[in-house]
């Protein structure tokens, strides 16, 4: 993937850049909003990572300008402002996801990869397949090795999210936000408990595990 990092803090930018490169992506860097806008217009990027507060042109203005050009490249906003209103502002300006500083790199990477996936047209997909696990979104059924697995509604949504992002790391915070729509961090391991329940239904009775724990980051569903 080709990723553009627009961030005025050089150290933070080089940290992200190094991390993204190590994960096999190509990452460019722009030092402020104006430069970022120029670079985003000049080349095709898969995802933009944009800091919210920058000199010359701030992140939100830059995104608005980009959306004004009908450029729909997914944008992940980085910000030190983490309140709900700030988040809403960022998404209104045209951002696709919002990550509050400070963050773990694993979180950033997971979100960037999730955003890139989002570009694929998935609205028409009614069936998700990962290995021998199949989910029918219309009939709301899950089948593995020709055996139907009964899931609670929330478990179904959890699995749906994991399948849509199969092969990618999804973090606990992402799951809490996207599956439960909660924007606070519970102290206990609620997500782990739900994952382990899901695992007991989709993995335990079968030979091969699909749902993997990624240490220090989150989970990955992979055939």
């Amino acid at each position: 993937m080709r990723i553009l990092i627009v961030e005025d803090d050089r150290e933070a930018a080089s940290y992200i850049r190094k991390g993204l490169r190590e994960s096999g992506h190509v990452a460019d860097h722009a030092g402020d909003g104006e430069e970022g806008l120029e670079m985003a217009r000049a080349a095709e990027y898969d995802v933009l990572v944009v800091d919210r507060m920058m000199p010359r042109m701030d992140g939100l203005s830059m995104i608005e300008a980009l959306r004004g050009d009908e450029d729909r490249t997914p944008v992940l906003i980085l910000s030190a402002l983490g309140e709900v209103d700030n988040r809403v502002e960022g998404l209104k300006a045209g951002g696709d996801d919002y990550l509050v500083k400070p963050y773990a790199f694993a979180e950033l990477l997971a979100r960037v990869e999730a955003l890139a996936r989002r570009r694929d047209p998935e609205a028409v997909r009614t069936k998700l397949v990962v290995g021998d696990l199949e989910m029918d979104l219309l009939a709301r059924t899950v089948i593995r090795e020709a055996e139907e697995i009964l899931l609670q509604p929330r478990e179904f949504r959890l699995l749906e999210f994991l399948m849509k992002h199969s092969g990618q790391v999804v973090t606990r915070t992402m799951l809490l936000e996207k599956v439960w729509d909660y924007h606070f961090d519970p102290q206990t391991n609620v997500i782990d408990v739900h994952i382990s329940r899901l695992r007991s239904k989709i993995d335990r009775p079968f030979d091969r595990a699909l749902l993997h724990t990624v240490r220090g980051a989150g989970y990955r569903l992979q055939a």
């Binding site: 209103d85 773990a104 909660y182 206990t188 408990v193």
Partner: protein
């Protein structure tokens, strides 16, 4: 330095009183002027009536015996002391008839009724010396008689004219006095006003300089300045409380962050010095990362709490069914309880409405549930309830049969960073319950801690934490 007029001259009150003093002076001037016009008219009309009456008498003489009778009459009158009356008769060539006590006044132009007003020498008429120059004012009526004779019957109106002149002076003086009094009153009132405002300004300045203890003086009359002082003081109370809270929070943050930071530093130091294996260094680094996460979570809690308490973050409060929140949380925590070997149950009443921010209330309940999970020993029970209580409030409650919180400690448990002795050994920031309280405050609700479902002699009384929120009025009444 540029000249600045004294404070009281710059006040709105002074300008207002000046304006009303001017208006008052002007209206008294108009009223007195009206009185003057009325009196002057009346006096002159009376003089004119007297003159007309005398003229009628003279004309009766003329009707009886012609010019000579007038002549005789006038001579008689003059001889008997004509008083204030003036008589002049001249023939066609302007020669005096000899029966006048005055020469024909010069430069008089009669109006259509033949009336005139003129000055004459009083001393020449009466022969009596008068104090001033002897000039006197008279009104008269002129009549043309057959044969070219011109007759003038007049009356001295000097006294009336003098009176009117004195009246004019008086009116002007009175108006000037009214203006002067108004201005003086304005100065007085505005100085008083300025002084009271000054008191408030003095306080404002010393507050600006950093003395938050100062308060504006009040006179408790309930007038607008007193009200201003009251509001001003109320504002200062709030500012002072916020400042105090901020300082306290700052201390607590320093205290709460210093411990884990020191621990982390020591651990990293140790890893640097150690000749140990790569694995042990890696372990130290991983531990440092998890310490950082913990620090960040404390930090985030502090921030959310401050935002909520300062009223800075306006929660997105909407009308909703409280059961939706409870059902989601029950579903989220039921497996957690099961994992911890706790029996979880929920009793959720539907069909009610509240105004709430889903995210915040969820967070509050999540904090309560996590507390229960954390403190209730394995084998215990946790129950999440939602109902409308007997007072009509919508009540969420989390009940457990864990150790509970002693009644004396309950108030304290809701404060920031307070960790009761019994919980010190367990992980936590001491912010959970204060965050719940702040969230409940934002919703104008109440939080209550009571004994739970436990048996005191066994594991302890348990804890029942309840959040009461006002029920939303029926949609029809909105």
């Amino acid at each position: 330095m540029k000249y600045r007029p004294p404070a009281f001259l710059r006040t709105t009150a002074f300008r207002q009183t000046l304006l009303s003093a001017g208006l008052f002076a002007f209206s008294s001037f108009v009223i007195l002027g009206f009185v003057y016009a009325a009196s002057a008219g009346m006096m002159l009309r009376r003089a004119d009536t007297v003159i007309t009456e005398e003229l009628n008498t003279v004309m009766e003489q003329f009707d009886a015996g012609g010019i000579s009778s007038i002549h005789t009459y006038m001579l008689e009158r003059i001889a008997g002391g004509a008083g204030d009356y003036l008589y002049v008769m001249v023939d066609r060539s302007g020669r005096d008839s000899g029966s006048s006590n005055l020469s024909w006044p010069r430069d008089v132009v009669p109006d259509s009724d033949g009336r005139v007003q003129f000055s004459y020498n009083r001393q020449a008429v009466t022969g009596v010396a008068v104090s001033d120059k002897g000039q006197s004012e008279a009104r008269a009526r002129i009549l043309l008689l057959p044969g070219g004779y011109r007759l003038l019957i007049g009356l001295d109106v000097d006294e009336e004219i003098n009176l009117l002149e004195r009246m004019t002076t008086t009116i002007l003086a009175a108006s000037a006095l009214a203006l002067a009094l108004g201005v003086a009153g304005g100065i007085f009132v505005s100085r008083r006003f300025a002084r009271r405002l000054d008191d408030i300004n003095v306080v404002a300045r010393s507050v600006k300089a950093g003395d938050l203890k100062q308060r504006a003086p009040r006179n408790f009359t309930g007038d607008e300045l007193d009200e201003l002082a009251e509001n001003f003081n109320g504002m200062l109370d709030r500012v002072e409380a916020l400042m105090h809270r901020m300082r306290h929070a700052g201390d607590s943050i320093a205290h709460d962050l210093r411990t884990p930071l020191t621990r982390m530093r020591n651990r990293l130091d140790q890893a640097l010095l150690d000749e140990g294996s790569l694995e042990s260094r890696e372990a130290a680094l991983e531990q440092a990362v998890s310490d950082t996460d913990e620090l960040l979570s404390v930090f985030n809690s502090i921030l959310s709490l401050s935002r909520l308490e300062s009223g800075e973050s306006r929660a997105s409060i909407v009308r909703m069914d409280p059961a939706l929140i409870a059902v989601d949380l029950a579903e989220l925590y039921e497996p957690v309880c099961e994992d911890e070997n706790l029996e979880f149950s929920s009793e959720i009443q539907g069909g009610m409405q509240i105004y709430a921010d889903r995210g915040l209330i969820s967070q509050a309940l999540s904090n309560l549930l996590e507390n229960s999970v954390k403190y209730t020993p394995a084998g215990g029970k946790i129950c999440l309830r939602l109902r409308q209580n007997s007072t009509g409030w919508i009540e969420y409650s989390v009940t457990d049969n864990g150790p509970g919180i002693p009644p004396d400690d309950r108030e304290r448990a809701l404060q920031r960073f307070v960790r009761l002795d019994s919980s010190r050994s367990l992980p936590g920031t001491g912010l959970g319950l204060s965050l719940v309280k702040a969230i409940v405050d934002v919703h104008n609700g109440q939080i209550d801690l009571a004994d739970g479902s436990g048996i005191p002699e066994e594991g302890g009384p348990g804890l029942r934490a309840s959040l009461c929120l006002p029920a939303a009025p029926d949609a029809d009444n909105d």
